[in-house]
Symmetry: C2
């Protein structure tokens, strides 16, 4: 039986999960792959920590470079993370003719075009199923299952931390900071949560998905990104009054000569199946010409779910090695010479429905002033709601719009903010409601 | 660029969809596969019907055999259906060394073990993604994405006709026959709906999924099958009172030395995500050791969704042919010598929760008689509900049980049917409620 040697770089949470599956499910893997996957080395600075792994002496080593340079190793699994040393080691592995598996979405979102070019030039595979959506097989689905489809759009909940926090705010009415603290306590958020709650992690993933779905270069820099740190229980409550839930969505749409790629808190109808995806779960719907809509859902993070996705890549590559079929599926779904350079649509050109919340004095004429300015900017209202009454002080005024242009919305809100009857900055949340064409 | 010749056998609805995608998305397929997929021939008895396909002269032929024998053709797509001629043609194609793609679940459920053995002996692939769940990539997910997982259980809505009918009964309160007639009118049910509504089609699919998930031989004959034709609006209404929905589920569970494989109407909690899968949609949840639960959902039938799945197989095979990697992934997920022969658990040995509805006279002592018999058979009740009152005639009595053994339930109900205060046969619907361990 052919032996395929694997070198694992980085043995943190997910790295440990990968090692665990390679060791504990070794017989299972052998019975499915028809080859032996041997974890030859694990490189991690901390060689002493007990990770609950039953390792032979010499498997755990402190330096990654000798592993990447080991001529016996066929597949390198990069689980270090970050854009520095991880990038150098991946490039070195590629130059050494090794197959590479990574879950490093930040690295691929920013340096992916160069890394995939290097892998193609060296004739090796650089696989990354675990970088998006944890155990949901979204990359394989886009690249293989939907291969005969023109993909129109994708809508995803791709960050478990944000979905956990939004679910908490929605269920308990707790403010953002409290929900975040609870997420941190329960291991669903990092000590520094910026990457997650400000939407950057979701955008890294969206950058990869838009490339795969629409046959374009990875373009992280132009994605519109807005996080969830300003979402309040009040707005989530008002959303529920209108039959909406608030989710941090990654939205990608093929607009022909441009692609829409945006990450922001979004109201969606509660009968949209994404509304029932709660807690730390991830989910994505893909709309395509032949299949209509399909949905995938599963754990988007965590030791073993992510490790499962890493192993699916390792096995794919092992099966290629057994059959001498490296490069069988192009990394970005299209043959390299077919990848388009397509601009992202500037957010100002977006047309969608909006939810506004103003804090305004409860005086006659206030509504007409606000709606007058909106009307001047071609923003037509579907409904207006004053929430409560107060003789002095501000009350919330909530408005839902018909489809409007983002540039018009920005200008109108800037004017409204100048009104002396309006205090605070207006709250704006975009709505995605496919049931409502206007 | 390498040209791969495809022969399509059968040009009904799905066959037409396959031809459509091969023709209309030809450039897309080329840009992804890096090879040319050429539809060389379509064999169908009816060569004259206008299918809206733009075919060169000579592509459409009346006889399948010359297509299967054509040495230029690399891949045969069997879209004839049924177990007769389809089987012979697939075997002939395999003997001729051709790769084969089919969506014929009935054929594979019954003759799959022999057909996969023949394909393995001839060193060709026999692919069948489209046979289960239409466009949901459940076969690829089980076979490739979850390759490092021990799969514990699967729960699927695998028949769009049944799900459409149950949704109609639930939403409109219409009786089964009316809902079926409406499904037929809207193209969601065949003129002869037996295969769908009696659960056989779902069981065909479950036979394939259990083989893939649990590494065992295909065993359709021993699956427990019960259809939806006896489901009433009344029972669906009572289910809703308890927070349950009724779905026709395919359930597969690994029980170690045996496998549970059963198809029957099932009550599931309304917060189970499968409860929100309505109309003709399909969905499946898979529980496995590393990933926890994952869910796939999408259209389970129809021309283009099914054709999309067929094409994903065709492209997988084309990529194998380009790389000389036939047999890269074993058909039934495990290497052939690793496939277990495992018995299915007889339904009598099932332990689950039950819903009973009795028609009983509204007289003192009736409840105690019924519950006495249940108690004698170790069936303990969670709740009892008499629905309405009547001085003469029968009223419905509804009971929910704790976990009980199916054999005990059968015996108890047989005794209860003999009581003179009970009219009609009792209604029994099994409940799957993971929230409730007892």
């Amino acid at each position: 039986m052919k032996v395929i040697n694997v070198g694992l770089l980085g043995c943190g949470t997910v790295g440990t999960g990968v090692a665990k599956l390679l060791i504990e499910n070794q017989a299972l893997l052998r019975s499915r792959v028809g080859a032996e996957l041997r974890l030859k080395n694990i490189a991690d600075i901390d060689t002493r920590r007990d990770r609950g792994l039953d390792l032979a002496p010499g498997v755990m080593v402190p330096d990654a470079l000798p592993v990447v340079d080991d001529p016996e190793i066929d597949i390198i699994i990069e689980m270090i993370g970050g854009e520095g040393i991880a990038r150098e080691l991946i490039l070195k592995a590629i130059q050494n003719g090794k197959q590479v598996v990574t879950a490093n979405k930040a690295l691929l979102a920013i340096h992916g075009n160069a890394l995939f070019a290097a892998a193609a030039a060296a004739g090796v595979d650089l696989a990354f199923e675990a970088s998006v959506g944890g155990c949901m097989p979204i990359i394989k689905t886009l690249r293989e299952s939907l291969v005969a489809n023109r993909i129109h759009a994708m809508t995803g909940i791709l960050n478990g931390t944000c979905n956990y926090i939004l679910t908490k705010i929605s269920e308990d009415g707790s403010p953002f900071q409290e929900a975040l603290a609870e997420a941190q306590k329960n291991g669903f958020a990092e000590a520094d949560p910026t990457l997650d709650v400000e939407g950057f992690d979701t955008a890294h993933k969206l950058a990869l998905l838009t490339a795969l779905a629409f046959g374009m270069q990875i373009n992280y820099g132009d994605i519109y990104i807005e996080g969830i740190s300003k979402i309040t229980p009040q707005d989530i409550g008002f959303a529920a009054d209108f039959g909406y839930r608030v989710k941090l969505l990654a939205i990608g749409k093929d607009r022909g000569n441009a692609v829409e790629a945006r990450v922001h808190p979004t109201m969606i109808p509660e009968d949209n199946i994404l509304s029932s995806v709660s807690g730390s779960l991830n989910a994505i719907t893909v709309s395509a010409d032949a299949v209509g809509d399909i949905l995938l859902s599963g754990r988007g993070a965590g030791m073993l779910p992510t490790a499962s996705a890493v192993l699916s890549d390792v096995v794919d590559i092992a099966r290629n090695l057994v059959n001498g079929a490296t490069g069988r599926v192009p990394a970005l779904s299209y043959q390299r010479d077919q990848i388009r350079k397509v601009p992202l649509l500037p957010i100002e050109e977006l047309t969608t429905h909006y939810y506004f919340r103003f804090s305004a004095l409860d005086r006659p004429g206030v509504l007409s002033k606000i709606s007058g300015i909106l009307g001047n900017h071609e923003i037509s209202l579907k409904s207006v709601h004053q929430k409560g009454r107060k003789t002095d002080g501000a009350v919330p005024i909530v408005m839902l719009t018909h489809r409007a242009r983002e540039a018009d919305v920005k200008q109108a809100l800037a004017e409204i903010a100048f009104l002396d009857v309006v205090s605070d900055r207006p709250v704006v949340i975009r709505i995605e409601d496919d049931n409502d064409p206007d």
